[in-house]
């Protein structure tokens, strides 16, 4: 049955002597593989050599702080709604008196979890966020782990560290030099 008139009539020609002798075809094949022998190799020797990230790469999430070091997230849930993989869950809470330095708005996320095994790193949460709080870093990937529950990132691993100038180590304020070193490391 003919479905279209695009069928090409093929003619099975008898092979010529050169084709039957195989040898020309073998030499052709050998020359192709020899060309590849001297070609640039595609391999990246990973631990020593790292492929550069694209500038628009979407990697591991971070929950940003504002200029005064307060958490920007107000637990509105828009990111969780936007998430096509349903990777984000959060519990909202009310800011108490005296916590104004910690949270920017009256409402904040008591817990905020992203399951990195569900996440498809599409960046829709970042687009949905009205407070510019959740942000996919362009230079960090979610590292491999042994247990599934270790892939559920809580606030302890998501929230951006407080700005280096406000940081302290065992209650002692960092010196300016230490803060600079830390800032350089975080950058």
């Amino acid at each position: 049955m003919q479905l279209t008139n695009r069928a090409k009539k093929l003619e099975k020609k008898p092979m010529t002597l050169a084709e039957r002798a195989y040898l020309p075809a073998i030499f052709q094949g050998l020359s192709i593989t020899m060309r590849h022998f001297f070609m640039k190799k595609a391999t990246v020797r990973y631990p020593e050599e790292v492929r550069p990230f694209a500038p628009i790469f979407r990697g591991l999430h971070v929950l940003k702080r504002d200029e005064q070091g307060r958490e920007r997230c107000t637990a509105c849930g828009l990111c969780a709604v936007a998430c096509p993989a349903e990777a984000i869950t959060m519990v909202a809470g009310e800011r108490k008196k005296g916590e104004e330095g910690l949270y920017r708005e009256e409402k904040y996320a008591i817990s905020y979890e992203i399951n990195m095994l569900r996440c498809i790193f599409c960046g829709l949460c970042e687009e949905a966020c009205p407070k510019a709080a959740v942000y996919l870093q362009p230079d960090k990937i979610a590292p491999p782990r042994y247990e599934r529950d270790e892939f559920i990132y809580g606030k302890d691993r998501l929230v951006e560290p407080v700005s280096p100038d406000a940081r302290s180590v065992r209650g002692i304020q960092l010196t300016a030099d230490q803060a600079d070193t830390l800032r350089a490391r975080l950058a």
Binding site: L23, L30, T33, M34, H36, F37, M39, K41, R45
Partner: protein, 360 residues
Amino acid sequence: MLELPALGWQSIVIFVVFALSLLIATYCTYAERVIAAFLQDRVGPDRAGPYGLLQPLADAVKMFTKEEFFPGGANKALFIFGPCLAMITALMSSAVIPFGNNMSFGNNAFFLQGIEVNIGMLWVFGVVSLGVYGVMIGGWASNNKFSLLGAIRAASQNISYELAMGMALIAVLMMSGTLSLREITLQQSAPGEWAMWNIVRQPLGFIIFLVCAFAETNRTPFDLPECETELVGGYHTEYSSMKLGLYLFAEYINIFVASAVMSVLYFGGFNFPFQYELRDWFVNSQSWELASAQNLITLLGTVGLFLKIFAFIFFFMWIRWTLPRFRYDQLMRLGWTILIPLAVFNILLTGGLILAGVIQ
């Protein structure tokens, strides 16, 4: 009874050849992987040591520490004997290959060759055809239908291609008039003339011999005995640990021996162009003694022979990563209806040319 000094250097040469065969086979595994990688735009093993050069050691440790498995219903004695036989025959065949010309120290002169026998080529053929028993026994003793099919394929393939190989060789022997590999090598040397190499006089014979060598060593495109897509692993399906290692090793040693035989038969063995001119130059212009100049030429010739062998080994691997495997009927058709008639034609042609006095 051999005199002790003679026995002394012979055993040294044999030991060195034995160690070299093993070393070359070891590094063939590495070379195979690197060449495969390079032909496929990869870099190959590079983790163990600089450029991955210790990879064979790591592989050996892996092989030795793996579980030794005996399949149920296997004939245990033959199951062990198979890989041993494959290994022994592979190692034995290099004994008669002349790796260099004569060396002399004082009054002692000796040839860089394990054993000089006047049936050298016959010895290589005999031992190599014994090698198929290693495969046969291993495949049969495994009590596995895939192994048995692989072994049967190996046997029929080796028998078919040995015929064409032997007939290609007969043309060389008609010209040389001897079976001794040393004699054949020496006949390919003439002052100032590297065109004495047999490849010039036997191009068709060389191509037949080369194709058959691929089939004899079970290499792609003739690696049907261990054809993974049809036979799991062929004759070594049931083998594990170092017994599998011995089979793989034997294959690489066979490649080394086949390369050496082809270099000796067709590419002048340890002869290299302008060797006599170089020796005379050392004697006349540098006022060296003839003996020490000859020793130097011998060593250079040995290096040259190994370069030829390495080129052949590279060619074996290059072919492996270029050509797909033949189908079984294609393999048999190529052997029986193309190579054997071609080899017979080559014998007739050589005979005619010898009669006409074109070649001797």
